[in-house]
């Protein structure tokens, strides 16, 4: 009897080779370098080096500034993810219902997507400038003693606002296309069964949007963790008193500004583990509730 076996062919490997090469060169190799470096104390120029086991990790975890950054990153990511998803969903649902001038609304809402985070940060910086910023003046005029240069809450408000504003349009595009992917028949059937639009949304539309929402959540958390770097750098720079410093910004400060390679490598490995753990949690526990 002949064993059933698919013939091995090298062609599939050739097809995935470019992808594998990209991952190897741009992720696995640098990540390996970071892990290697995180066990060393090495002068910036690489002239002397010593293996120190976990000293860099111990120093990282024991550093008050790192703990402060970890705490802010947690709050910041939760707020940015929740707010930018929530606002985008609301806007998408409303824009989906609009008939007259729909494309104008949609285009306007998508616009901010084209803006890079550092540019968004620079714009925010101007609007909140203590000497010329309109929003700075506005908030102070309405009785809020607003001073993001010294008040950590106000500074957090500024970075969250800019980060959310920048991200809403991305989420909006996905939510809108998700909404448009829900077949008319389903909506019409729901309309016959239930009069309340709110109830229809939560029982029919939202569950059908779940795959989109889940995908966006993963994307948004990654965004809040990493891509907001440019916003932090161009607005607060982590000030006041390190209260708006994020973990990735601290990696940059210590490694790229301060030339502490071992320390910042250890920080980036810890960051990598945190994000990996978060992603695993999301896929294991939240994705189960998502029906495709």
């Amino acid at each position: 009897m002949k064993r059933v076996q698919f013939e091995h062919s090298t062609i599939p490997y050739l097809f995935i080779a470019p992808q594998i090469a990209i991952i190897a060169i741009f992720f696995i190799w640098p990540a390996g370098q970071a892990i290697h470096q995180s066990f060393l104390l090495e002068d910036a120029f690489g002239l002397s080096s010593q293996f120190v086991w976990f000293r860099n990790y111990v120093d990282t975890i024991g550093d008050a500034a790192w703990l402060q950054a970890a705490w802010f990153t947690t709050i910041f990511s939760a707020l940015v993810t929740f707010l930018s998803l929530g606002i985008a969903l609301l806007l998408a649902v409303k824009a989906n219902e609009v008939i007259r001038g729909a494309s104008t609304y949609k285009t306007t809402l998508m616009w901010a997507y084209a803006i890079a985070p550092p540019v968004a940060g620079l714009m925010g910086n101007l609007m909140f400038h203590p000497l010329i910023g309109d929003l700075y003046k506005f908030f102070n005029a309405i009785g809020w003693d607003f001073n993001h240069k010294l008040d950590s809450f106000d500074a957090g408000f500024v970075v969250v606002l800019i980060a959310v504003w920048k991200q809403v349009s991305v989420n909006f595009i996905f939510f809108l296309s998700g909404l448009q992917g829900i077949s008319k028949a389903v909506n019409e059937a729901a309309l016959m069964d239930c009069k309340s639009p709110t109830r229809r949304f939560w029982t029919i539309t939202f569950p059908l949007l779940a795959p989109t929402t889940f995908f966006l959540m993963v994307i948004n958390i990654t965004y809040a963790f990493f891509e907001t770097f440019g916003i932090i750098d161009t607005t607060t720079g982590g000030a006041p008193g390190g209260s708006t410093n994020t973990l990735v910004y601290k990696v940059f400060q210590d490694g790229f500004r301060g030339a502490d390679l071992g320390g910042s490598s250890a920080q980036s490995v810890v960051l990598m583990i945190i994000v990996l753990a978060l992603t695993i949690i999301q896929f294991r526990f939240i994705e189960r509730k998502v029906h495709y």
Binding site: G237, P240, G241
Partner: protein, 434 residues
């Protein structure tokens, strides 16, 4: 046919080899001088290249100070380092303590017959980039020092004749300026102006180990009564509306002065040219105030800015060119040109005398204040500091000063935390750079 192709390739190869042999030796110079400063750098390089036929200096702008240092470090690790790298004050410990990263400029100049005497350099410049024995490692390049700028209109409006020489005088005049509608003071660099140079001005030790020049195994001494007194006052002044804090960015605080929100601003002697263009009022410059209660006669400040380092791993012929370029750059004509164009101070006494003889300070007396302050009598603790991971330590300082201003921490707590966190960084540095 094949033979002809081979011959052609060979000929092309020989031609390609021959070209560099006849061309000038290229010398890469990575710097952090943007904007107008970059243009002046390019001009100096262009003039140098035109002045001789052996070497070609190629300046490349690499971004801010930290970016330039990081680019240089990355290039060094990849064995692609430039011949000349500009490193700023806070990064000095990183390069000087990495044995063999740079060739000491004193050795380089002597080896290539250019002669070198550190006594040619003015007092406040001499020590900063030198080792503990006084041998200069880096060639001071753009050197500035903190000064007090004051708005003469504001002073006239408040009925004050002279800018404050001491902080006591400042305290007395601040309410008058407030009554005239001005916040008395802002400044643009708390670590540099009100910490490092505060110690130099009052001749206070800044860290153990001879301000860090003797060893990397040192402890910071910022947590002292004088600093705590001064920063307690700063907080009082902030609350009373005598001190304006416009964030950490250099420009935001300078803008407050330009826009006449504050009557006085402490910045760099190198800010002079820019202010001259951006202000629409008459302003003057004067020495950094000091506390009469701490010291009777104030001492000199030291330089900020950056130095040029000759990176190791290049050929002898190239170093000859670097030495030649350094000699060119520090000659009197170029120093005076650089001084006039940028506002940075001339680094040699001879260049200073030349600018004086030309009558430059008669036409713009404010341009001399920086050098005069640097030439004030030095003391035991006025040469500067050599502290590792100082970029991060400055970060810690910024944070703690924010905490004092926002009221999150008492002065006592802020300085105690500053001490702990800075010492942890110094300890890491000492373990890395033995």
């Amino acid at each position: 046919m094949k033979k002809i192709i081979m011959k052609t390739i060979l000929a092309a190869g020989i031609a390609a080899l021959a070209i560099p042999a006849s061309a000038k030796t290229e010398l890469q110079w990575w710097h952090a001088m943007g904007g107008r400063l970059g243009e002046v750098v390019d001009e100096i390089a262009k003039n140098y290249n035109a002045s001789q036929s052996e070497y070609e200096i190629i300046p490349t702008y690499k971004g801010g100070y930290e970016d330039t240092m990081t680019a240089g470090i990355a290039a060094f690790r990849a064995k692609q380092q430039p011949h000349v790298l500009q490193i700023f004050d806070a990064g000095a410990a990183t390069i000087i303590n990495a044995p063999g990263a740079a060739i000491p400029v004193a050795d380089l100049m002597k080896e290539h017959g250019k002669g070198f005497d550190s006594n040619d350099y003015i007092e406040g410049v001499r020590g900063f980039y030198a080792d503990s024995a006084g041998k200069m490692i880096g060639m001071p390049f753009n050197s500035s020092t903190p000064l007090l700028y004051y708005n003469k209109d504001a002073f006239a409006a408040a009925g004050i004749a002279n800018p404050p020489a001491t902080w006591e005088e400042f305290e007395a005049m601040a309410p008058k300026l407030k009554a005239a509608g001005y916040t008395a003071l802002a400044q643009s660099h708390s670590p540099w102006i009100l910490s490092e140079n505060f110690h130099s001005r009052h001749n206070i030790q800044l860290s153990t180990g001879n301000n860090g020049y003797d060893s990397t195994d040192v402890k910071i001494l910022y947590n002292n009564d004088h600093m705590k007194m001064h920063w307690g006052k700063m907080k009082e002044w902030l609350d009373a509306g005598h001190y304006g804090f416009f964030g950490r960015a250099w420009g935001d605080n300078q803008d407050a002065f330009v826009q006449k929100k504050v009557a006085m601003w402490m910045g760099s002697s190198g800010s002079f040219g820019g202010l001259k263009k951006s202000t629409d009022f008459e302003f003057g410059t004067t020495f950094l105030p000091y506390w009469k209660s701490i010291i009777d006669e104030p001492k000199s400040t030291f330089i900020g800015g950056a130095a040029l380092f000759a990176m190791s791993g290049k050929s002898d012929a190239e170093y000859k060119g670097v030495a030649d370029f350094f000699a060119y750059m520090t000659n009197n004509e170029n120093q005076v040109f650089w001084h006039k164009e940028t506002g940075y101070v001339p680094i040699t006494t001879a260049a200073y005398n030349m600018a004086k003889a030309e009558g430059y300070y008669d036409e713009s007396p404010d341009a001399e204040i920086g050098i005069l302050q640097l030439s004030q009598p030095g003391g035991e603790w006025t040469k500067g500091y050599r502290l590792g991971y100082y970029v991060q330590i400055r970060e810690v300082m910024y944070k703690k000063y924010d905490d004092i201003f926002s009221g999150k921490s008492s002065v006592e707590k802020a300085f105690s935390e500053m001490e702990t966190e800075s010492n942890a960084l110094l300890e890491r540095f000492a373990a890395t750079y033995k």
